[in-house]
Structures are given as C-alpha cells and as structure tokens.
C-alpha cells in the first residue's frame, strides 16, 4: 500500500478519496432502497462485496422488488456487467500477478477503469487503479450497511434525490475523457443509440447498443488527423 500512496500525487489521491466517499454515499442509497424493497439488511452488503458493480446491483434489486424473477434479475445484471469485458481489454496491465490478480480482477469497475485510463504512466495507472479499487471495496459494502440501517428510518429515499447520485458520479468521471473531440462525438452518438434502443430493447441491453457508435470513432479520429496534417 505504502508504495501505492507514494506514487500518487496529492491531488489525485484526494480525487480518489472523494470518489470512494461518493461511492459510500451511493451505497447508502443502495442499502436503503434494498431494505425498503423487502430485502434483509445483509443482502445488499453481501452482494455489494461479491458483485461490486453498482448499476447491476441496483438493477437486480429493482427487478426483484418489481416482482421479476431471480433469473430475469440475474440476466439483466450480467448484461449490464458485460461492459467489464471491454474494460478488461482496455486496462489489463494494472491487475498484478498470482493471487493479487484475482483481487485485482474483482476490483475492475467503472471508477477504477476511468482512473487508470486517465493516468499517463503504467506505475501511476496501477497505483490509481488499486487505491481506488480497495477504497471502493471498503466503502461500497459499508455504505450499503449504513443505508440498510437508514432505510428502516427514512420511508422514501427518492425524496432525498439519492437516485440522481449514480449518473452524476459516472458523468463527472468521464468528463475529462470527453475533452477529446472525436471521443465526445462518438459518445454522444452512442448515447443517442442507447436512448433510442430503450424503446424496444429489454432493460440492460440499451447500454450495450451504444457500442454500435464505435465505428464513428475511427472516422472522427481519421478526420482529425487529416485536419491536423493540413
């Protein structure tokens, strides 16, 4: 751990700490939602530690709470988590070796991948990935446990606006990457595709539909290179 801390500069460390704190706060909303949906308090905590992928867990709880079957909840969760495959293709060098590799693989999620991608050198990528990942592994289940406690007190967590937190977190995380013009345009096209797909694809699939916009990235980057050469 110590060498990880030393590799990271103060600003980045603060950013990671704030992300972990925010994840803990989202965990609050998650635990509260789960308990008010009729789950035992330990369920969101256990799922938080074992699955460690917020959006799929919200989806899982939501589908069961809406009366859906566990199979449907499982399939939807797996679909949402299918994005971890391209994530793993994008950041494989940070995962470590041996038993650490198992843990490192488990720590792969939206936030850790974004932090790893945002760093320049491999040592920084690795340090950011692990620090953020271990922080989330701690904060997410602990937040869920506190939320489960809160859920037995607060009736409707939507009145606190907790559902707006998760998308705001992801948006704040990808904003720096979106400074790249080609990537921004591709992402917007992907968003449009995903939103259009919600009208006819089942829950979980529309996010993956955004990938159909990826060929545009090649076109946009080629155009940018052409413009730079001129």
């Amino acid at each position: 751990m110590r060498s990880l801390w030393r590799t990271l500069d103060g600003g980045l460390l603060r950013d990671i700490a704030l992300v972990c704190l925010a994840v803990g706060v989202i965990g609050l909303s998650y635990g509260a939602v789960a308990v008010t949906s009729g789950f035992a308090w330990w369920f969101p905590v256990l799922m938080g530690a074992l699955v460690l992928a917020a959006s799929s867990e919200f989806l899982f709880i939501g589908i069961i709470a809406a009366g859906g079957s566990p199979i449907a909840a499982l399939l939807a969760g797996l679909l949402v988590n299918a994005r971890h495959l391209p994530f793993g293709l994008a950041v494989p060098d940070v995962l470590g070796r041996g038993w650490r590799r198992m843990l490192g693989t488990h720590l792969m999620n939206d936030e850790t991948v974004v932090f790893a991608i945002a760093q320049d050198e491999l040592s920084n990528k690795r340090a950011a990935y692990w620090t953020c990942g271990l922080g989330i592994l701690l904060c997410w289940p602990v937040g869920a446990a506190l939320g489960a406690l809160l859920g037995s007190v607060v009736e409707d967590t939507a009145t606190l606006g907790l559902d707006a937190m998760f998308p705001a977190v992801i948006l704040a995380l990808i904003l720096p990457a979106l400074k790249d013009r080609a990537l921004r345009r591709t992402a917007l096209a992907g968003v449009a595709l995903a939103l259009a797909a919600t009208t006819f694809l089942p829950t979980g699939l529309p996010v993956l539909a955004a990938l159909a916009a990826l060929p545009l990235f090649t076109v946009f980057t080629a155009k940018a290179a052409e413009g730079a050469a001129r």
Partner: protein, 110 residues
C-alpha cells in the same frame, strides 16, 4: 423482512451474478494475453469503455426500467454535470445532483 422476498432463489441468482461478473472481468485480460492488439485497436477499446459509460449515464439519468423518469433526476444530474465541468470538487457534484433532485421533488416535480 425476508418473507417479502423469496430468499433462496434470489440468493442463488445473486451468487450466479457474482461469479458471472467475475468471469466477465477475467475474460478481457485473458483474451488480451492470447492476442496482441495494435495501438489503434487499443485506443478503440479505451473509447468503447467511455462510450459505454456515457450511455450508462444517460440510461441511469433518464430511465427507470423500461420507462422515462420525471425531470427531477435528469435535472439533478445536469446540475452535477455542469458543476463537474466547472471543476467543482467531486463531493459537491454528487451532493448538488442529489440536492437538486430532492428540492425539485419537494416542489412537486416528479
């Protein structure tokens, strides 16, 4: 509490989700160890992660299940996004998003 949710099948599905998600996480690096990707493909893979996250943001901000949500949540997310764009601290972004949605709902906006 647990009588509201049929526990055993749900628990089994949750463990299956945990295992399946781990395998999904494992398969990316595994595939990459088998095949070497050119630099351009690598850039494309990074782009794919950002595109997925952007779509996830939009879906999470605008929809609930198969339906579109009321304006309170997306407006909250937008406020958070603008603050993030203006380089506000992360926690401010998150709390402003939740606070905006909460205030709008207090005012009767769904």
């Amino acid at each position: 509490m647990s009588d509201a949710v049929p526990m055993l099948p749900t628990l089994a599905a949750m463990f299956a989700l945990a295992v399946g998600t781990f395998l999904l996480r494992l398969s990316g690096p595994f595939l990459r160890a088998k095949i070497t990707f050119p630099a351009r493909a690598e850039k494309l893979l990074e782009a794919s992660a950002v595109v997925l996250l952007a779509a996830l943001t939009a879906i999470a901000a605008l929809t609930e299940g198969d339906d579109f949500v009321g304006p309170a949540r997306p407006v909250g997310v937008l406020v958070g996004g603008v603050l993030a764009w203006r380089k506000a601290p992360f926690l401010v972004v998150v709390l402003a998003a939740a606070g905006t949605a909460a205030l709008l709902r207090l005012a009767g906006v769904p």
